[in-house]
Point group: D2
Chain length 490, copies 4
């Protein structure tokens, strides 16, 4: 990777190192109709970079939680770069995810990469076993490099898909799924686009993976490879989110959570060259389905992070109830119980999936699939309900507040101080700040991560239902019922 301009030598250890490593990459990023000069300094993009930066800070502050000793390099590495070496590693991911959700109040965007490397790790092993290829060793080398440098890896799975009733090779436009357009002596050339990319401009590498089950006819779509974010031919079109431009306004109140946010972009891949050393699947189409399944399996339980984000919203709801002076009312207390009950259900089902992890043939560990799907399925509903209750506790003011400019205005400010007064010991600004945080998480920018992404990330609700149907051992259940009902032969 000496070719990568951003490789500035020393490993990335701190959030400062990380920010520095992202600068000067000359990425082609488009946002609100303009080419972004330097993403690190763009007020809308920066909070999503801050969120990943927090994963470095946490690693330094709490290495037990957020780092692990890698059997690949023998070094301590950020847990997001670590291959699970035991059940405890799988569980530790969940603990770290909850803490980061609580620290950032949003999607910190690094789980996709973590779940991708663990999936590719076992799938490359299985491809090699079936085909005599050497992908697994190649992937370990790539990982060793990434671990050593402390890179941020993004995973890119979701193709744009076109007509959903047709296979990749049957589309009118063959580029609607990412594919190999050329195989050369030194590598491959890929083309297509990946949608809904959570975290990419703030990454160093992207692991490209297929998005669904493929057949023989789709061989050119069966590609897994690693691409540096600044690779020639990549264009990033930034998705806009509710209230995004508030980050460009003066002040830090109306934005709700000034420091952190998520990031969603479309990546257009226009004939990008990938050397063989970074290619980890090339045409072995029958392994596309296992890869997708393992990745979503890991990732559905990674949504435990939302219980950490939920902690923030529950905390905000409790605070606003206090600020409004109604925190002793029984119905308020009961609503906080309900929020916690739902939030811990997400955590509990996800943690159970991780605790029930099993060893793969490759030697790393993968969580239980049924419980991971159950976890994610709750995630598609409960944050919406928690959000609704938070708005309930907030009171109508959450959507009728004037702007920060009025609060700070010399004439209107005192008027608002007078008329927005609640409990005497709480400054109006504190009340406003908490209300804006609740708005941010339920209708604003981080509602994207807390609500909509919870709905669709790692598969929309129906995807979990299909998996639950597949994973439930219905024969065993039917046999149990027949035996107790006295039906012979069982």
């Amino acid at each position: 990777m000496t070719a990568s301009g951003w490789t500035k030598g020393d490993p990335i250890r701190t959030s400062e190192d990380y920010l520095e490593s992202l600068r000067g990459r000359n990425l082609e990023v488009w946002l609100l109709g303009e080419r972004v000069e330097e993403p690190v300094d763009h007020p809308i993009i920066r909070p999503s970079i801050n969120a990943i930066a927090e994963t470095f800070d946490l690693a330094n502050r709490n290495p037990d939680l957020a780092t692990a000793k890698s059997a690949i390099t023998g070094e301590r590495v950020n847990r997001f770069l670590h291959i699970t070496e035991g059940v405890d590693d799988v569980v530790a991911q969940n603990r770290m995810q909850r803490e980061l959700g609580r620290l950032t109040g949003t999607c910190f965007q690094r789980c996709v990469g973590m779940d991708a490397i663990n999936s590719v790790y076992s799938v490359t092993h299985d491809i090699d076993a079936a085909h005599g290829t050497r992908y697994h060793a190649r992937f370990r080398e790539f990982l060793a490099m990434a671990q050593h440098h402390g890179y941020v890896l993004g995973g890119a799975m979701t193709d744009v898909k076109g007509d959903r009733s047709k296979a990749p090779s049957d589309q009118a436009d063959p580029d609607l799924y990412v594919r190999i357009v050329e195989r050369r002596d030194d590598g491959i050339v890929i083309r297509g686009a990946k949608a809904h990319q959570t975290g990419c401009i703030n990454s160093h590498w992207i692991l490209v993976m297929p998005t669904l089950r493929l057949t023989e006819a789709d061989r050119d779509y069966a590609v897994v490879c690693a691409v540096p974010v600044e690779a020639k031919g990549l264009t990033y079109i930034y998705g806009r989110q509710a209230c995004d431009t508030r980050a460009m306004e003066p002040g830090d109140i109306d934005v709700g959570n000034a420091r952190y946010s998520g990031q969603e972009a479309m990546i257009v891949i226009d004939d990008v060259f990938v050397p063989w050393e970074h290619v980890f699947m090339d045409g072995e189409h029958e392994f596309a389905a296992p890869l997708v399944e393992r990745f979503t399996n890991y990732h559905r339980r990674s949504y435990v992070c939302k219980s950490g984000v939920g902690d923030v919203l529950i905390g905000a709801a409790a605070l606003i109830a206090e600020y409004n002076g109604v925190d002793r009312a029984s119905h308020i207390r009961d609503k906080l119980v309900e929020m916690n009950h739902l939030n811990e259900t997400i955590y509990g089902t996800g943690m159970a999936a991780s605790h029930e992890a099993h060893r793969t043939a490759a030697g790393n560990y993968e969580n239980d699939a049924m419980l991971a799907n159950v976890c994610k399925h709750h995630v598609t509903k409960y944050p919406y309900e928690i959000g609704r209750i938070a708005q309930d506790l907030a009171g109508g003011l959450v959507t009728t507040l004037p702007s920060e400019a009025e609060l700070k205005d010399s004439k209107l400010g005192p008027l608002l101080d007078k008329y927005l007064a609640g409990r005497a010991d709480i400054p109006t600004e504190h009340r406003v700040r908490i209300l804006r945080l609740i708005e941010n998480m339920t209708m604003g920018r981080n509602a994207v991560g807390y609500l909509t992404e919870s709905l669709h990330g790692a598969g929309s609700p129906q995807a979990q239902r299909i998996q639950i149907a597949r994973l439930a051992d219905m024969d065993e259940k039917k046999a149990a019922a027949m035996r107790l009902a006295g039906i012979e032969g069982k």
Copy 2:
């Protein structure tokens, strides 16, 4: 009313008349830290004016639905200005509300006034009966004037409240509830502030009412009066809403619903003079509670409007499913059924309340209270669930779409056309427009009206639960149980 500068003589009959009537009033409106020159022309405010304008258009297009013949003036008047003269009038309000919800996709802000005049109508009658006052006739005169001119009346009930554990007269600052600060020969002077004012800058008159049960000590807070919107001493501080500034960007796509929106403001009342002819309660504190109860009773069932807004969101969800090519999938169809089931429950319970209306002592008709509370209570939950399902059907793209600027960009536009292609017969822009509408209604500006206002308007969820507890005839139910259980004496 010759004093009102905006009274330009002829009655307001069309939406053009209405817009014209709002101009040049020199209101003191603050928004995003700036004094607004002319609200009618402000891109953020205008859509909320358009929403009310639609009530004039509908009256002209469909007079059966949106007008009624007034027994007070003998003229056909806009239904929003009409006093209910029979059960059918109560029911007709709901039908009109659903249609306007469907037409605007948001809160059209005129129900508060309609429900306020009907409540004040019967309460003034009752005050007169108890005290020998003449409020009722005075109010009828005011109404006759308003009906004749076709004015838009806003209702202002919600005080800012301060410390919620204390009565108005016990607050540290006596102004935290609107009160009479001076009684003069020619009228009264009032002071205070009203919060969460849905529709005011786009009204001609505001009907000021108390917000809760009052005692003898709170006599000065027991005030009902009508104030012209441009009265000296009124300041309007505009509430900001999710994605509000998108209305100031070029283009009409990202805003989701370019034409209509709601409006929320705080009204600061700084020693405003009200002549006696516009005062309808002055110290009769024991009628504050009945007024609040009747108003919320009407208003809780007025939330049937949300079933009209729900129609739009259901339609948008059905369209995006078609555009995504998945509308035949059984789980998609089932989700549309669920949305309709919830939406019609709102409509059904509200309509039942109206159909079960009774005649008041004053002669107008008021809907059933239990069913109105049941209706509103569903409104505090179902729109959130309908919104969640809409986002489910939308797919993740609803929050990862690039901006209109990229779509229209000469380089990026074709790229997005290529990669956002779904069904061949649907232009990408149509798909984007529907997604932005769904975003608008679930996370954007109209989510305020469809979700948060549904939660808090006319009383937060707990307020309905308290009323349901009061209204349920538990003795009758207990007697029925005892009789069937064979417990003697019943």
Copy 3:
């Protein structure tokens, strides 16, 4: 009808008349493996007869509610025999149903007949219009006779159905749907069986109707006719229900609701002759679907009765909370609110359907279909939730109580009095009686009517979902969304 042995001359006016009219009919009724001598005196059957008897008592006690003046005979008739002559008649059915639910705490089994006559009334009119037949006049004659005598009419719609993937005429056994096996000069001969017959042995006549859409090939299945309950060839096989045999034990406590219950039976129709005067459809297969649809339409909103049954259960829950001394706890009060909220939603949606009734071509009135389906769909869920909350308030004792025999035992009785003591002023027996009533309604005999029949009667949940999908005007909703999204041409 001189042939009918039970026609004892005078009209049936009182519950005593009614009981007398049922005696000595020599029906072939089987229950628990034995032929029942006289159903009126069988302890398991009698409570279901008592429930219908209550419809006579109510008519005498409250004629406004439970009778109406018939335009057919000019006489006041029981409302269950009345053809709806206006919207008020449709609404009055719902009011009467709620009251009877409250009076009996169970299914009073007479709505099927009421809804059947109103459906057959309009469908016979439409058949005549299409085919020049004279069914409608014939049916009016039959109705006049039934109204005059005050008969109880049961409706029999649900066939046993066999292989559900095949039409009636395609079944291996042609008898799996009721059909005409012979057409004679004087009438027809029918054969088959009707399942889940709610109320039949306690009726005088049964109105046989087809159960689903029929085609040309199914002509012989397109039969509507009236059959006297004691007709030769009918066999009634009584369905057993949870805790049914408690009615055969001494005492009246353990049975929970000693006086009232429902009744479910299978009717085997073994070549029963029906004279032409009682045949109201004979082969007009294309009218089977409208008949089914109109019947289920009326009937789905008839489930408003369950709000009356719900009143009993809510009353019982409130009582047991008092007896347990916990009725002031906020969570208990909140649960009672929830029960009422759910219960009134059933009532409200059903009442709205009735209030929105329209006139049929035949001149009678039929309720709104969408709201009726919404009502019934809630009925498939809410009683279960109300039942669960009732058990919550009851405490564990509801399923661990000793039997009445121990309570009355000279040694154990005082012991139980000592140890089951709650509030000092409440006799242990009262507490036990209310607990047994709750058991009866949630796990015992009347749980059949309150829960399972609520689920399946008038169509299982999916049947309503299909209708809601059909009835929702999706084109209008989509047009509304397109207009607001700025999609041209709308």
Copy 4:
């Protein structure tokens, strides 16, 4: 324990040994008003004994699952008698519970004892540490004896409670909570009654424990001791359950689950002597609360057993859908997914609690409290919803089926075979058997265990809500919100 007549020498190893060990104990058991001669042979009681017998069979069939090596005796013991020596032991309890739920389709009644010994184990250790007593060693001796003999231990916690607003020592009748009435040289004498006793007549020993927080004034109520089931002075009054007498009818179909059921009884304790060697708390009132809390903590997560019972009901629902020929319908398949989703949520949250177990000061392991409460709280709702869906899939026949006697009748049997025919390859009897099993689990005898006991066992819903409120670290959540909202000092 030589004093115990039932000690027949050899350890109990098989279900046959177990049944034999229960015979001839001359217990005073009352059921349906009669003294039961020999409980083992009573048709209503026997199925509850069979359920416990299954715990012996499972231990022999699958020792890894249902036995463990005890550090106390060095022997392999039944897991229900085992003190948790590590996290894996805590988790293994849940696995065994699910399997037994699936095997029996009901409550197998042995968890109370298991959870009681683990709670008493750590609490006796803590009492000794605080008071210098020797309860812990004494309890280990008792345990060693019980483990060696393979006894079934029941736990008795729930007092009858009288006036719930008063403490034990403040009750009008001091016996409403079990208490020490005499302290002698050789032991204590206790009096009172325990209610809702799940499994006692089928046990060998009962561990008596206090039921709530006690104060100094309640010292005599602070008693933990072991009592043999056949101790002089114990009277067992059997609770009656829905459909209980079907077990006394001929045939095995109508009963639904002929082999297994639960058991609930009231135990009256009339001055029972307990030697000191079996007393494990005597007056240390401040340890009553920790004991209750630890017991409910273990026990709330023991409700994972209901996911095993749920497996049976899900299997039965899937079978009846097949038998009805509708198993391919999308709405049917979706309902099975929903059942599994709910069922696995119970399992997942319970398992998470167990996996997150911690070591106590005494050295045994106790599960996480928050997740255990979340698990149990779901258990108070989900089985009801699973039951409702099972009835939905069953169709109305589940409550209208004739009795087994008709099915076996020479005349009616063939008629029913003809008319209850569904899929040609499924005997009518199989269909009936599965329907009766569903009835049994949703309205019949095992509905007590699956539904009502799920609601109230180990604490009614509100008890979990109180614990969730206590266990949620709200300060941490509030701090997280303040930090992100930019409120200083955090």
